[in-house]
């Protein structure tokens, strides 16, 4: 079997398991980045072109204008409805990625916004496009990852997960994070995007010698030096790169364990 087919089939199986176990109580988080766009495409593959559950965009209001335009265009092209969520109370109070406040900002505008939408709609599971090779902490994730009511990730007590058996027993006030593309590497994602001819935000392509390798909120993303102006260029660049993907992401670096703290608080 082709290597990209093998990755794709594994993801499709997991997406279908999640749908089977949580029908009517499941949603997908879409951030318009390359990973969650790939995930959204895999959902269409799993369900023969359909997206049989809501697509959520957690909007911090600090995203790139290109991302908002891409969001509205793809929703039209692929014909799906989006639930846009903002933590409006915190935004009205002036919450933003100010100095030494990034952990707070991510927690309020992303994690707590997600909490609000889960409560409002009664979702019990959320599909997320995280990958193991993004960060050491994410490398320790399971495909099906339970979170308690306070959104805490009890990483010392993760359930065993083997042989395609995914634990999804619900305790009270719990929800599951489901990670169908956990096994894709950054390079796999780009090779897959190329093969499937997926649309992608053009922030990833080089302009004036710089490009974004990972996208999120404008103040917390910096571009990296690169001349990769096409998907083929990006693939060639990554085949030799030794820089990590999230090198341009501020929230990972405020202190050594920020990512662990963020994730244990329920960050994506």
């Amino acid at each position: 079997m082709d290597y990209l087919d093998a990755l794709e089939y594994r993801s499709i199986f997991i997406i279908r398991e999640a749908y089977q176990k949580f029908r009517g109580r499941i949603a997908i988080l879409w951030s318009m980045g390359k990973d969650s766009t790939t995930l959204l495409w895999l959902v269409r593959k799993a369900f023969l072109g359909h997206i049989p559950f809501p697509v959520i965009h957690i909007d911090t209001s600090y995203k790139f204008p290109e991302m908002y335009r891409f969001r509205d265009q793809l929703a039209k092209d692929w014909k799906f409805e989006i639930i846009v969520v903002r933590n409006q109370i915190q935004l009205d109070n002036g919450m933003g990625p100010h100095k030494d406040m990034k952990l707070n900002c991510c927690t309020e505008l992303k994690t707590n916004a997600l909490k609000q939408v889960i409560d409002k709609h009664g979702f019990q599971s959320i599909l997320l496009g995280i990958r193991r090779d993004e960060h050491g902490i994410r490398a320790k994730e399971r495909y099906f990852s339970p979170r308690d009511a306070a959104f805490q990730w009890d990483y010392e007590n993760q359930p065993a997960e083997l042989w395609n058996q995914y634990n999804c027993f619900m305790r009270e006030d719990e929800h599951y994070r489901i990670h169908p593309i956990l096994h894709f590497s950054e390079l796999d994602i780009w090779r897959y995007i190329k093969r499937e001819e997926l649309p992608i935000v053009d922030l990833y392509f080089s302009k004036d010698g710089k490009r974004y390798r990972s996208i999120g909120c404008v103040p917390c993303c910096s571009s990296v030096p690169s001349n990769a102006a096409s998907i083929d260029d990006i693939i060639s660049e990554l085949e030799i790169s030794k820089e990590s993907e999230r090198a341009g992401r501020a929230q990972d670096k405020e202190d050594l364990y920020t990512m662990q703290k963020l994730r244990s608080l329920g960050y994506m």
Binding site: R16, I137, E156, W163, R171
Partner: protein, 407 residues
Amino acid sequence: MSQYQHVFPVVITGHVDHGKSTFIGRLLYDTGNLQSERYHEMMRSSENAGRINEFAFVLDVFEEERERGITIDTSQIFFKTKKRSYLIIDAPGHREFIRNMVTGASYAEAAILIIDAAEGIMEQTRRHIWLLNTVGIRDICVVLNKMDIIEYNEKKYQNLLAEVSSLFNEFKLIPAAIIPISASLGINIASRSNIMSWYKGPCFLEVLENLEKKPIEERPFRMPVQDIYNFNGENLIAGKIESGFVSAGMKLQLLPQKKSVSVSAIRKFPVDIESAFYGAAIALKLHVTTDLNIVRGNVLIGDEEPLCGRQFPATIFWFHDEYKNSGHAIIRCTTQAVNCSIMLNQVFDPAEPDAPLSSDKICVGEVAYCIITTDSDIIIDHSSFIPEMGRFVIECDGIPKGAGIFR
């Protein structure tokens, strides 16, 4: 065919503190696979913890792991050589984290067993060989770590070599190699070192590059039903092919109903496919003449009927809490989930296989030969014939607590 190769997944196992995480960190570094940001983060956190170049910190990223100097959870990291790409799976060596070790090992094609040359074979060394053998991993490369601590002593190496060989012999296994190394100093990892001139064998990387993926053997078609969809008024059967292949027009049988069906189409978005093989997650449109009452857990098969029944002999291993003989549990085998009870016949600790334990219960880290009795029919194959159809997870109180194979 794609121009890219499959990633080769390898799990690193061994007793606690024998140096698994350090070994991986070193391997990444010596093969030029450590991303500069992760390298600098490792240096910075090593300094914070008052240590020098703690390579284990590349994988042990939890604050608790670094403070306690142990691996708690399994981790995965990609790494590539000129020949191919690897997925390195780090597995914890503590008995209390055995479920994380099993989780990690279940994704692997081959294993590295690391043994501290000064300490020798320990409890988890034995337990891990047993578990690897049970989950079907037969390619195991042994590395004898911390040779620098025993001053590269050839005699000690020879003694350990004999012990390891005889341990493997108990399982009718032959190690792919037994290599003296030092993970912290990078000796015999990515290149051969002269420091042990008496050792004429390959370095670790050479052995790794020659490990092969198990060939996929020709087996009859099996597809457990995962779900049933109805999009645009068309009924589709979703499932993953656990063995064999299927093509449009093929005649199949649905079990346990024993009803004949034929495949009218294999639906795929955006274009349908004509045939599909082992590992594919597909959606079948079936041509049927009678009502099938098809549900999740039914199995579509080709030739050679599998076993269908309510009582099967099995080998199980336990990784969470304990199980009292004949208690209530759920067995999950492919997409089947059925109530069951397990009669424990012979319980033992694989670290001490000659000292049988009481059959009243099975605890974390122990294994048992047993008889599993289910409330309704299940469809299986022997694990030696079709591994995917012959292995299962045992769940109690909603938590996966054990796993096993049908003998």
